[in-house]
């Protein structure tokens, strides 16, 4: 059991790379039917600009996270920054499955999004378990971990919404009988990217706020450098309450904005995203209901 620092380590970054920085391009393909050779025009996706390396991108991301982040005097600022940056880069390089998915030439956009979504859903239980584990090994109130758990739910809803938006793009851009299929795809892609862009930007802000809060709590709870991302005990007494409240307030505000944004987009793309949430553990739900009604 590990006390992971972030949930789904920046789900927005993969989408920014795979869905926003791309444009459709034509390419010609030869194929044979019997002894006859034919040529057909197909459409693929290529990146618009020179993409930064993952290392540069991560560096930028952690620079944002560590802006205004107080570091305990017994740790070197540079070493703490490098530790988080290098761990992120190492995790990325070790994730061959994800890299293969990104590099695959014939992948559809929906295929990529569904891959990321499925991965998150498969690990969903472990994300909640990680929050429960952090509660057990801490003196933080349970309500703190409720917020971080709502963040997990937000990521789940975000991924589902992105999947619905991309699905609509794929359906609209590959409709049969369209006279100019390439132009149609360009047009649909522009609409999709205009929809996705503000959502991904907002998710970036939420991920930053959430990482700031978790990293701040972790590094100040750590008793030595080896513990900075996995402290044995999360100790609220070791934190500067003013600083903690500032990070917490920012996180809660970003969380609220993101959820409202997902809700507003869900009205057009899939109302079920914000449907009534049903209990999956009746005795616990009953106990909680009775407690809420009795307090």
């Amino acid at each position: 059991m590990s006390m992971t620092i972030s949930v789904g380590d920046y789900p927005s970054s993969a989408f920014r790379y795979a869905l926003l920085d791309i444009k459709p391009v034509r390419y010609e393909e030869m194929f044979k039917v019997g002894s006859l050779r034919f040529r057909r025009t197909r459409i693929a996706y290529e990146h618009k600009d020179q993409i930064q390396s993952f290392e540069d991108y991560s560096n930028l991301r952690y620079s944002y996270i560590f802006t205004d982040m107080p570091i305990p005097p017994n740790f070197s600022e540079e070493k703490v920054f490098d530790h988080f940056l290098n761990t992120s880069i190492k995790n990325f390089h070790e994730d061959k499955e994800f890299q293969n998915m990104l590099a695959e030439k014939n992948r559809t956009l929906l295929g990529l999004v569904s891959f990321i979504q499925k991965r998150f859903e498969d690990d969903l239980d472990s994300y909640y378990l990680s929050e429960a584990f952090r509660f057990y090994h801490s003196n933080f109130p349970l309500s703190f971990f409720t917020k971080t758990s709502i963040n997990i739910d937000t990521t789940q809803k975000f991924l589902y919404l992105i999947q619905r938006i991309v699905r609509r793009f794929e359906l609209n851009s590959s409709r049969p009988g369209v006279r100019f299929p390439f132009e149609q795809r360009e047009y649909e892609m522009r609409i999709m990217q205009e929809t996705l862009s503000p959502l991904i930007d907002r998710m970036d802000l939420l991920c930053r706020a959430s990482s700031q809060l978790k990293i701040y709590s972790s590094i100040w709870s750590a008793t030595d450098f080896k513990e900075i991302d996995r402290p044995r005990f999360l100790d609220i007494k070791k934190l500067d309450i003013k600083q903690f409240e500032e990070f917490n307030k920012n996180f809660e505000s970003e969380l609220e904005c993101m959820r409202r944004m997902i809700y507003e987009a869900s009205i057009e793309y899939d109302k079920e995203i914000f449907n009534e949430a049903k209990s999956s553990d009746e005795p616990t739900f009953l106990m909680l209901s009775n407690l809420l009604l009795s307090h």
């Binding site: 409720t146 209990s279 616990t284 009795s294 307090h295």
Partner: protein, 251 residues
């Protein structure tokens, strides 16, 4: 068809019934009345604050029981300290829980507080521990508590999501009101024995009427308020009632 005019304001217990799916018959009628007659149904800021605060208080109450009672008792730190992450539960641990809740009940009686919330947690926890003990391959006690916390977190996320959908996002039939409590009526209500925050919630009806000239009815399931309805009507000219009677007061 009789003409219907005016609006509803709901109490926190009505919001909780909607969020938790309680009092289904009453809530079904309220929803039907609101939608069929196009009645505006509001929640005041003070009710919203009360709901949010109750949720937060309940979560931390539960967290404190887990941390300061269950874990402390099971660790038995004074006589025979145990590392709960390494030991598996036995039937004796149920007896330790019994002892823990007995101590709570004795203390609570002494303080003359309501014991019910603890009983609810006790019943739930003992059932969960019983289930775990009867399993062939057991988790450690520490991991059982972590799993139970995980379930609590998942359920709270769902409850919170329903609250957010109904109140914050106004995705159902309830809208947020920006009317504030009327200070004169608030004082009158307190004189009648209706204390804050209930007096805040009810006095908003007066502000609503003063600012819009529209009649507003306060819907609650709290019998402590309902039984004083006549006093409130006579002294403050505000109607409070159970949601099933709301429509009849707007005809």
């Amino acid at each position: 068809m009789l003409k219907v005019s005016g609006c509803f304001y709901v109490d926190s217990c009505v919001i909780f019934s909607e969020i938790l799916g309680q009092n289904q018959q009453k809530m079904k009628k309220l929803r039907k009345d609101v939608l069929a007659n196009k009645i505006d149904c509001y929640i005041s800021e003070s009710v919203d604050d009360e709901v949010a605060e109750k949720i937060q208080r309940t979560i931390n109450f539960l967290g404190n029981i887990l941390k300061e009672t269950i874990i402390v008792y099971l660790e038995d730190s004074i006589t025979n300290p145990r590392d709960l992450m390494t030991i598996k539960p036995t039937n004796n641990d149920i007896h330790i829980l019994k002892e823990a809740f007995l101590a709570i009940n004795v203390n609570i009686r002494h303080l003359n507080l309501v014991t019910d919330p603890f009983r609810m947690v006790e019943e739930w926890l003992v059932e969960k521990f019983d289930d775990e003990i009867s399993k062939k391959s057991k988790q450690t006690i520490g991991m059982i508590i972590i799993f139970l916390t995980k379930i609590i977190l998942q359920e709270i996320v769902k409850i919170n999501s329903n609250y957010e959908r109904i109140v914050k996002l106004e995705a159902d039939y309830i809208r947020n009101s920006n009317q504030t409590p009327d200070s004169y009526i608030n004082a009158e209500l307190q004189r009648l024995g209706i204390h804050r925050p209930d007096s805040d919630h009810i006095s908003v009806m007066k502000s609503h009427f003063s600012n819009t000239t529209e009649n507003a009815i306060f819907l609650t399931l709290d019998f402590g308020i309902i039984r004083k309805w006549e006093l409130i009507k006579n002294y403050c000219d505000i109607i409070v009632c159970d949601p099933i009677y709301g429509l009849s007061h707007l005809r």
